[in-house]
């Protein structure tokens, strides 16, 4: 019982801390990639407390709900966007032998299903805001979810097939180094589709600020908007953690896997998070039709090919 409580507290702490770290890293990495310095004042040393200051600012703001908005849905949406990512973290293993809050037998299935729920938050926000731009953004979110969930699930099921289990701990346990070339296509497809599901640039068509203001989040301000922002960074953490566990061997490092497994996991998550930020800085936003084309014309066939490759090799060497 105590063990569960401690683990839950650790997950809550990670959920509070990791997105902020990723957010701060995004501020600084993006700035330096553009030849700037980024935040330099908050907290004294290189603006380390910038996101804390942002949080304080958001908390002080007025809580505005448009008159025509669907009040309950409007108020609920930020929570629906944020909480699923917390739930996914519960089943993500950070080390071998039960270093996970809940070792679910169908962990992969659970993680993907709950991650999909997070997108519902954005759709709810778009629908409930009583704003045409929000509605357009919400519809784009929905379309994006439809297109990218498919290759993501295909890529994930390829790994599940290779490991012969749906348990996330089981998959990481089965992982061998030769999975890297074997599942490479699947890994790329999973990561790219995950980025699209998080609506991160270059897949941020739903919040395209130059055409639909801020998409589903147009009418939000203050703490509710902060929750949406937090959900985005929590989503990055969850996506990177899932990619780590599924495709990069999770806690498996060069040495001391049992004792330092959590460190290897964290390290891989941060490297992937850096990649997410790097992609964001480097590429311009894709157009809606390009976005759909990438999913249906490239990612789905690629993930199917990966599925076939996995199946053939699995049967051939079993």
């Amino acid at each position: 019982m105590l063990e569960i409580v401690v683990k839950l507290a650790l997950v809550a702490a990670a959920f509070a801390l990791l997105p902020l770290l990723v957010g701060q890293a995004e501020h600084k990495v993006m700035a330096h990639m553009q030849g700037r310095l980024g935040p330099m004042y908050a907290g004294g040393f290189h603006g380390w407390a910038q996101l804390v200051a942002d949080g304080v600012k958001f908390a002080q703001k007025e809580d505005v709900i448009p008159q025509a908005a669907d009040r309950w849905v409007f108020k609920l949406a930020p929570g629906v966007a944020l909480v699923p990512y917390l739930l996914v973290l519960i089943v993500v293993p950070v080390g071998p032998d039960g270093q996970v809050v809940l070792d679910l037998g169908v962990g992969l299935f659970f993680a993907l299903a709950v991650m999909g729920v997070g997108v519902i938050g954005a759709i709810m926000a778009g629908w409930a805001s009583a704003n045409k731009y929000s509605l357009l953004g919400g519809m784009r979110v929905a379309a994006q979810l439809m297109s990218y969930e498919l290759p993501m699930v295909f890529a994930a099921s390829s790994v599940a097939m290779a490991a012969g289990t749906l348990s996330l701990s089981g998959i990481a346990e089965e992982w061998r180094w030769y999975w890297l070339p074997w599942q490479a296509v699947g890994a790329v497809v999973f990561f790219v589709a995950g980025l699209a599901e998080l609506r991160r640039p270059p897949f941020d068509m739903p919040v395209a600020d130059s055409e639909i203001i801020f998409g589903p989040y147009t009418e939000y301000g203050g703490l509710r908007f902060a929750l949406f922002l937090l959900a985005e960074y929590a989503g990055i953490v969850v996506l990177c953690a899932l990619t780590t566990v599924l495709f990069l061997g999770g806690w498996k490092g060069p040495f001391l896997d049992t004792e330092l497994g959590w460190l290897w996991t964290l390290l891989k998550v941060f490297v992937l998070a850096f990649l997410v930020i790097w992609l964001r800085v480097s590429y311009p936003r894709m157009r809606e039709d390009q976005l759909q084309k990438l999913a249906w014309a490239y990612l789905v066939p690629l993930s199917l090919a990966q599925l076939a490759l996995t199946g053939v090799l699995k049967v051939a060497f079993a």
Binding site: G35, R36, L37, M40, W278, S282, Y283
Partner: protein
């Protein structure tokens, strides 16, 4: 499809390389209030007045294209000394430059025949009210302390006009006896030289 001889996705890789390379270089941001900027020599920050040199000739105020220099003065009669007659001289009462009008052309500084006006690189004199940008002579005199010494000449440049004239005078054959420097003393041309040291 892509052009022949180019790998698909090489453009994507190039984009990533650009951002990564930029990240490893020093950022170009200047931390201005904490770190003072490195201004170019002869920066035009503000016009300083060396009040002691001003003779109220009014040339600067007359040459100023936007008439932003205000000068007031009165005449003072000095009592006669010895057998001479009484002399008058101009006393400066007010010298003000309206930096809201000034366009920093520097014509007043060029026009001043008595070296009373100078460029100072000092630029931090913003005000909340446009009227407060008219600065009086005491403030302009204070800025004199921020005027840097003249920039050194480039190596190999022609010597300053004053030095050249003085040297020409020094090489003239007819000289009064007891002259410390012998005529025709060899000189290395060029090199920075202060005007005071050669005459």
């Amino acid at each position: 499809m892509g052009r022949v001889g180019r790998l698909p996705g090489s453009g994507l890789a190039k984009g990533l390389a650009v951002t990564l390379r930029t990240m490893t270089r020093r950022s170009i941001t200047r931390q201005y209030p904490e770190v003072q900027p490195d201004l170019a020599p002869r920066s035009r920050g503000v016009i300083a007045l060396l009040e002691e040199n001003c003779t109220v000739c009014m040339l600067c105020a007359r040459e100023c294209p936007d008439w932003c220099i205000y000068i007031d003065s009165h005449k003072e009669t000095l009592p006669a000394e010895g057998g001479g007659r009484a002399r008058t001289r101009n006393v400066l009462d007010r010298f003000a430059i309206d930096f809201a009008l000034c366009m920093y052309c520097g014509i007043c500084i060029e026009a001043c025949p008595f070296d009373a006006l100078f460029w100072s690189p000092e630029f931090e004199y913003a005000e909340y009210d446009i009227n407060e940008l008219t600065h009086e002579k005491d403030r302009l005199r204070e800025w004199m302390w921020t005027v840097p010494p003249p920039q050194a000449h480039d190596p190999g440049a022609e010597p300053p006009k004053e030095v050249a004239a003085a040297e020409k005078a020094a090489t003239r054959p007819k000289r009064t006896p007891g002259e410390p420097r012998t005529p025709g003393e060899p000189r290395t041309p060029g090199g920075p030289r202060t005007p005071g040291g050669s005459t």
